[in-house]
Symmetry: C2
């Protein structure tokens, strides 16, 4: 068979690009041709950034967030509140919580949630190291910030039981009506929970 | 300001990825985190393929298609009909025409179409080299396979005038109803042209 793209270099680049999520062969070809149209420097910088990313990134030995150093910048920052740990599924969730500017504690990245369907048990997640951190002392509160799915709830409950022997407050994200949601389209469980957990209206503007 | 992603490596990779067309910062972050989750080998291969693509690709000295060699595999293929040249805008169009399996001649990649609005004149395109190829002799037909836009038509006409002095047949892609199109939604010009250029119905299944 003849080469589809008249060049093995292009063929290889399209192959590799189309292995990325959400990128099919057509998009991959468009990206590759775009790279060819740009300055050589720009294409090389992109390739280089990807290689360096993959080879240079380590994981924080304390919270398992990505890091270039043994301890990530968040864990190493003395101005953060080391007595509060926010438990999240992934590196992406750390970024999401950071972007809220509402949290000044430390994180613990589990690397997923318990999911028997996908063969993920507690031992595949960073739960034991979370227990170690709490056991070591100095932690007042563990905030469970996992998805409000069955897997997330299961994981919450599992962690809750693991941490029960220790003197630590365990909280979870408030369940309720998402900002911008119309009542008409909200599921009954969320609506029910947000009724039970209703807050003082004056609290909603007290901090403004 | 603190780093948004807790890692300059991640920050750089997201920056570079988000310079690609159709990829915003959110998608770039998703791609970067995907690369981190994969085998190291896979990420390095992707970066490497991009660098090699950008550094290794040359352009065919005859048709200006991308190539790894002085003459591209299509131009160098002795079983192709060197007397017919299909003029296209871009490398991508070569791939599209190749994929039809309806063409066995050679190509000429212009690198765009004449567009005064975008400051593209004939001298920015590979038109002079097309004239040279025809002048050199041995060409029976030049097929104009440019977009059916005003810019494409202008370019067609410009090339037509440039090639008029030479003894060469100049054709263009048939204009007509695209396969799958409903008559109700077709513009009048296309419909008019496809009426004028109607073909024998028996021809449509003669080659099956």
């Amino acid at each position: 068979m003849e080469l589809q793209y008249a060049s093995t270099l292009l063929e290889t680049a399209v192959d590799k690009l189309s292995q990325l999520p959400g990128i099919g062969r057509k998009t991959a070809l468009r990206l590759a041709l775009h790279i060819l149209r740009q300055d050589e420097q720009m294409g090389v910088a992109l390739g280089d950034a990807i290689i360096k990313l993959r080879q240079g990134i380590k994981y924080c030995r304390s919270c398992h967030n990505i890091s270039e150093t043994d301890l990530c910048p968040i864990c190493a920052n003395p101005s953060r509140d080391a007595s509060t740990i926010c438990v999240v599924e992934s590196v992406k969730d750390v970024i999401s919580v950071e972007n809220t500017n509402q949290f000044n504690g430390l994180y613990h990245v589990l690397g997923g949630v318990i999911s028997p369907m996908e063969g993920v048990g507690p031992e595949q997640l960073q739960i034991a190291s979370l227990v170690e951190r709490v056991k070591a002392g100095g932690i007042n509160e563990v905030i469970l910030a996992l998805s409000a799915t069955m897997e997330g709830e299961t994981t919450n409950f599992y962690i809750y039981r693991q941490l029960a022997p220790f003197d630590v407050k365990i909280t979870q994200l408030a369940r309720g009506v998402a900002v911008g949601n119309e009542i008409e389209y909200i599921d009954e469980i969320t609506l029910g929970r947000s009724l039970v957990n209703r807050t003082l209206f004056s609290d909603s503007f007290a901090d403004k």
